[in-house]
């Protein structure tokens, strides 16, 4: 048993090493071949600090033409326009809040990947907790009912019937 576990962990280590090598090769390939880089990433690389902020903000915003993706994940022309807009605003000295506000003013709350908590979204945010509380209440009620049932004593006739069924000695009664 121990030997098998040892074998397994050695195998996993080998696999991890192989994966790491593969990822390094892929990384080098993508660096060497600009053609492999997607359209959205082919932007001239500027200040890394600015780019990091662009990416952080882009992860918070929804690509409205692709719905299920953030602007950071998407390479659609809509997303690259939005990234360009974010980049320009950062360069103009706007802070993150102002940039998000700019997008919300034009595209509404839907552009936010994490919907804000407000009166129209309380069910969205509170729903799971509400369900949790409801199911806990349900569970507790069930458990209490079951405990009540188990605690009932047998009547004399029931006891007699049980003894007869089991066919055991009368003296065992607790």
């Amino acid at each position: 048993m121990v030997k098998e576990i040892m074998n397994l962990s050695a195998g996993l280590q080998k696999l991890a090493l192989a994966l790491r090598r593969l990822s390094i090769v892929l990384l080098l390939m993508s660096g060497l071949h600009p053609a492999l880089a997607a359209d959205g990433m082919a932007q001239p690389v500027g200040d890394p600090v600015v780019e990091a902020r662009v990416n952080k903000l882009a992860e918070e915003l929804r690509c409205l033409t692709c719905m299920g993706q953030s602007i950071a994940d998407s390479q659609s022309s809509f997303s690259s326009d939005m990234k360009r807009e974010i980049r320009d605003m950062i360069k103009a000295g706007k802070n993150d809040k102002e940039i998000i506000e700019f997008m919300v003013q034009r595209y509404g709350d839907f552009v936010l990947y994490r919907p804000p908590v407000k009166s129209t979204t309380w069910l969205l945010w509170g729903g799971p907790f509400l369900l949790l509380i409801l199911s806990l209440v349900f569970l507790l009620a069930k458990l209490r009912k079951r405990r009540g049932q188990a605690a009932t004593e047998l009547t004399e006739t029931e006891h007699q019937a049980a003894v007869q069924l089991l066919g055991k000695r009368e003296g065992d009664r607790p």
Binding site: L64, T65, M67, S77, F78, D81, M82, E85, V104, Q105, R106, Y107, G108, D109, F110
Partner: protein, 176 residues
């Protein structure tokens, strides 16, 4: 029998929610710009590049801003509707030629039955489009006499949308 009643009720409620969800169009994102002033812009005109156009030029008029492009496939679907609307002379239609090339745009108009726009503004880099919250072409905005956006139609304008929503609202705004 009764123990199945509760799961069945839960199932029916859930199925009801999902059925309602299927009917919603995920592409129709309500615009936060309804009731807000038209974003300011000043852009070159498509047919006369030495002239410009901006919302100030249209004050006192109820007008439609139709976002279009020669690369936009569903614009072909709405183009005949817009041409017919222009023929009726009921409302001023202004185009926003979005992320397009001038020559391609003019050719496209010629190939698809003419130019229904009083004037088209050229938004080469799509910046004015972003100010309007444009995310898919075509989109159409109805603007009142004071330059306030009153309605947004997402997707190709249909004869039915004009008849049931856009034109009645436009007539009301023109009177008021």
């Amino acid at each position: 029998m009764r123990r199945f009643l509760f799961p069945l009720a839960v199932f029916i409620v859930l199925a009801g929610f999902l059925a309602a969800g299927l009917r919603l169009n995920p592409r129709e994102v309500p615009s936060p710009l309804i009731g807000k002033p038209v974003p300011a812009f000043r852009l070159a005109q498509l047919q006369a590049s030495d002239k410009s156009i901006g919302p100030e030029d249209l004050r006192g008029k109820v007008w439609l801003l139709n976002v279009w492009a020669s690369w936009c496939v569903s614009c072909r679907q709405e183009h005949p509707v817009l041409i017919e609307l222009d023929r009726q002379k009921k409302i001023t239609i202004v185009g926003l030629n979005y992320k397009d090339e001038r020559l391609a745009a003019i050719n496209w108009l010629n190939q698809h039955g003419g130019d229904p726009y009083m004037v088209s503004a050229v938004d080469v880099d799509g910046r004015v489009g972003i100010d309007f919250g444009v995310y898919g072409v075509p989109e159409t905005f109805l603007v009142d006499k004071n330059g306030v956006i009153r309605y947004k139609h997402i997707g190709p304008v249909t004869a039915e949308a004009l008849k049931t929503k856009i034109l009645p609202l436009a007539e009301e705004l023109a009177r008021g």
